[in-house]
């Protein structure tokens, strides 16, 4: 593996649950509960999971949009928690975020030019240089030059997502976290945006964390995939290994549940019982055990750790007593 660009250890995020007359914290929803994760320079790491898995929260923590409740995070060799002032601002530039809903994340009263240019303003560029950078970026994301003078509502969903990508990339970040960047788009537009993300990564030598519930899209774009369930990583390995030999029962179920446009395909769908449990009171031991078709008594007693499984070459981490 490459030298990690981003290094996370023991990252947690607990959200207080308030109740009663004085709105006291009565419990905590453990959205992200102790994650160790390295993101290699130049790689695309996929983060998959269902709602409540904590994948979006983790994605926001990784770019500094949200402060973790506990844990260490270092970027390019620097501890993020120690940063202040100008250094913090520089760091913020190098980490960018692409949102799922391109309409909700763009200010409707601003023209595309200013949405994309907003981040540049802190750099005190002269107008000509600023406009040049914006035009260049719009061109890179495949928007016509005239789009600079448009308001978001004048654009289609796919075009708005291109604006969101331009806004993130104009600052020349090193790491980009994209949270469900194609989920809100129509099928024929999804492939346009996926291809664009792949091209831009190559051209600008970016590192991606691609957060999504869509396993097919994640596996298409990612070099490695981390699977999350209820705030924990359950499996982490290369895309190829994960798709070919998934070891965690949850990953197996998830893979089998993806409907593919191939009629008559004979395959065993693992249908999981029940819903994802409440993150306020996660099950003891393995959090997946309440829905796991293979669960044993040990799964309720001991929490499985994310451990390397040595089957052939390549790192393959799994948190399962039975794998």
């Amino acid at each position: 593996m490459h030298e990690p660009l981003l290094h996370a250890r023991g990252v947690k995020k607990y959200f207080p649950v308030r109740s009663g007359l004085f709105r006291r914290d009565v419990a905590y929803a453990r959205a992200v509960d102790g994650i160790d994760l390295d993101v290699g320079r130049g790689e695309t790491l996929g983060l998959v999971g269902e709602s409540g898995s904590g994948k979006s929260t983790l994605g926001r923590i990784l770019v500094g949009l949200m402060k973790p409740s506990a844990g260490e995070l270092s970027f390019d060799g620097t501890q993020i928690a120690d940063l202040e002032g100008a250094e913090l601002r520089r760091f913020r530039r190098e980490l960018q975020f692409i949102f799922q809903d391109p309409s909700g994340s763009l200010d409707p009263r601003m023209k595309v030019r200013d949405i994309v240019g907003e981040g540049l303003d802190a750099q005190g560029l002269e107008r000509g240089a600023r406009d040049r950078l914006i035009a260049e970026m719009l061109d890179k994301v495949g928007l016509r030059r005239e789009a600079a003078e448009c308001y978001p509502h004048e654009l289609s969903g796919g075009q708005r997502q291109r604006v969101g990508i331009a806004r993130a990339l104009v600052l020349r970040p090193k790491l980009v976290v994209a949270d469900e960047p194609v989920s809100a788009l129509d099928v024929s537009i999804q492939s346009q945006v996926l291809n664009l993300l792949v091209e831009l990564k190559r051209e600008l030598r970016l590192t991606y964390v691609f957060v999504s519930h869509n396993l097919a899209a994640v596996s298409y774009i990612s070099d490695r995939i981390a699977v999350m369930y209820l705030g924990k990583l359950v499996e982490l390995t290369t895309t190829e290994r994960l798709c070919r030999t998934p070891l965690h029962p949850y990953t197996q179920a998830l893979l089998s549940a993806v409907p593919e446009p191939i009629p008559g395909r004979s395959r065993q769908i693992v249908v999981l019982r029940g819903d994802i449990p409440n993150p306020i009171e996660p099950p003891s031991g393995c959090r997946f055990r309440t829905r796991c078709p293979l669960a044993q008594p040990v799964c309720a007693e001991q929490e499985p750790q994310l451990m390397p499984k040595s089957v052939g070459a390549g790192e393959h981490l799994v948190a399962c007593h039975l794998a």
């Binding site: 596996s219 895309t239 998830l254 191939i262 009629p263």
Partner: protein
Amino acid sequence: MSLLRVENLRTYFDTRSGVMKAVDGVDLDVREGKTLGIVGESGSGKSVTALSIMRLIERPGRILPGSHIYFEGKDLAAASERDLEAVRGNRISMVFQEPMTSLNPVHTVGNQIIEAIRLHRRMSARQARERAIELLELVGIPSPERRVDAFPHQMSGGMRQRVMIAMALSCEPKLLIADEPTTALDVTIQAQILELLRQLRDRLAMAVILITHDLGVVAEMCDDVAVMYAGEVVERGSVEAVFRSPQHPYTEALLRSIPLLGMTKAEPLNVIPGMVPSALRWPVGCRFAARCSYASDHCHRKPPEMFATGSGYAACWLRGDTVERSQPGATADA
């Protein structure tokens, strides 16, 4: 045998900017006990088609004269409101995408199911409650005798969708229309609901119209498929035939634009350039021509007819040279 036959369905909406031709001459055929998938992107008219079949179109929308919706020997397009009430929720039921907004938050799920039952069946309150519990059990809700008194917000998204299905099945319809029933759900919950729909369909011998944007769901659930684009059906036939060898360039391009598990970024995805035209101003010729890699001048000038393709129908001039023309209202099944 066809259970439902839609012919030349046109549903327009009068808006301030002009007439929006959301559904513009759709033919469909649903075979008894079989599942038809209607697939298309947003704005293709698939949901409006479903609402039109149920005659749930309200002003400023209108179903145009000349549209026909034949179901059990009646033309629903011409039926009176009274006749429709006997059909809706009884012979034809519908399940929507977002169960939270379709359920009433201030009533228990049991009372909502009971109301649906008693609308069409003479039954005492106690009998109806028994039936509601039975239905909840049928759709796989654990401890139904307790859950019958739960409120929608006390249930998860998957459970609420099960309640919606229970309600839709309360009168054992011949046709269930499910509009994106799993789109709002997680993958593993989607698998549960699809599995449930499959079981119920077989057990109750009902036909299903499944409306979705997900070609994977169609491949997994449906016998027949109709592909919609810009208010029209551009291709229809058996799922097997259409997916194996799509006859319309849009279907083909769509199938090639989805990443499959195991595909890598080394193979770029097929891209359909541009976007769907506006329903206020459909193009003059083939509505897909501007995005089609096979389009010729002729395509831009003249809208294609529906041509028989051997295994189904496709509205594309490319298919027009070799095979005879389709008869209006002819069915796609062999």
